[in-house]
Amino acid sequence: MKTVKAPIGVEGPGFFATSFDEVIGIARANSLWPLPFATSCCGIEFMATMGSHYDFGRFGAERLSFSPRQADVLMVMGTIAKKMAPVVRQVYEQMAEPRWVMAVGACASSGGIFDTYSVLQGIDEIVPVDIYVPGCPPRPEQIIDGFMQIQEMAKNESLRRRETEEYKKLLAKYEIV
């Protein structure tokens, strides 16, 4: 059985000492609540991912959050029409830090085959994206792989990444306060 590896620390009889950075990183990584923003066929693949065969719950994502306020990962799966863009943006703005964004599939990543006046050419035009999952649509394994990359980020990032200069600059680029 796969269990979470113990962080670097000092171990003795009856105690274990480590840093908050390590422990909180592990805790976050193994309890990420996704907010599925499913608009088309990638959403169907996500349903398969959540089902018993692929069992997304194994990665601490058992509990989907349909409110952005309690969500950690925004998973945008599907074509985002320009009329939908302000909605995605508002959902992102309502999420609390720390927050991550996954663009699942070709449409969310780049507009995909819909190179047209009415479709957003990738959600990175309106919100910062952490992970792009390629595919049209991607298989559940790919979605899981993308999610595991986010877990790695959550483990290894600074606990307050929102206070880093780089992150502030990124959000300023998108004019998100």
Binding site: K83, S110, G111, D115, Y117, V119, Q121, E125
Partner: protein, 167 residues
């Protein structure tokens, strides 16, 4: 089975509206009539009320754009007589500058959204429409995207630049 023929309908229209019926055709067996846009509502009302005809179901309203024609913009009505199981198509051509035509929404309630869609994509103004504003596109859009002079592709897309394909 169809209870009336294309010829019968055409004769009815020609005897009623005379030379306002500009031309007609039968692509795939469906009567298609091009008529003067000033009488669009009179035609729809006549077809609706005439007991022998009863074209009371408006299947579709849409626009078309043929940039090379003298009157490049068109409004197309598809009508269905449920009583006679017969369909007919009408086309009214308009200039591309300031195109006006009267609304059918008082006669057919279903025309309301279809005319808004036609306005949204082609900029055809339906006089007398109760709420003529965009329905499918974003409200901030400044162009009428299905007119041929506007490019279909999104200008923000960068991965289709020629240099990535060695052109």
């Amino acid at each position: 089975m169809t209870k009336i023929s294309n010829n019968f309908l055409l004769e009815q229209l020609q005897s009623k509206f005379g030379d306002k019926i500009l031309s007609y055709d039968e692509p795939h067996g469906m009567l298609t009539v091009v008529a003067d846009p000033s009488i669009n509502i009179e035609i729809l009302e006549f077809l609706f009320q005439e007991p022998q005809l009863q074209y009371q179901f408006l299947t579709d309203v849409c626009g078309i754009h043929y940039p090379d024609q003298d009157l490049p913009l068109g409004v197309v009505y598809h009508l269905h007589s449920l009583a006679n199981n017969h369909r007919v198509r009408f086309k009214f051509f308009l200039p591309d500058h300031n195109p006006h035509i009267r609304t059918a929404s008082q006669l057919h309630a279903g025309a309301n959204w279809m005319e808004r869609e036609t306005f949204d994509f082609y900029g055809i103004i339906f006089d007398g429409h109760p709420n003529l504003k965009r329905i499918l596109n974003v409200d901030e859009m400044e162009v009428f995207p299905l007119r041929k002079e506007f490019p279909l592709e999104d200008p923000n897309r960068i991965d289709k630049q020629d240099k990535f394909f060695g052109r």
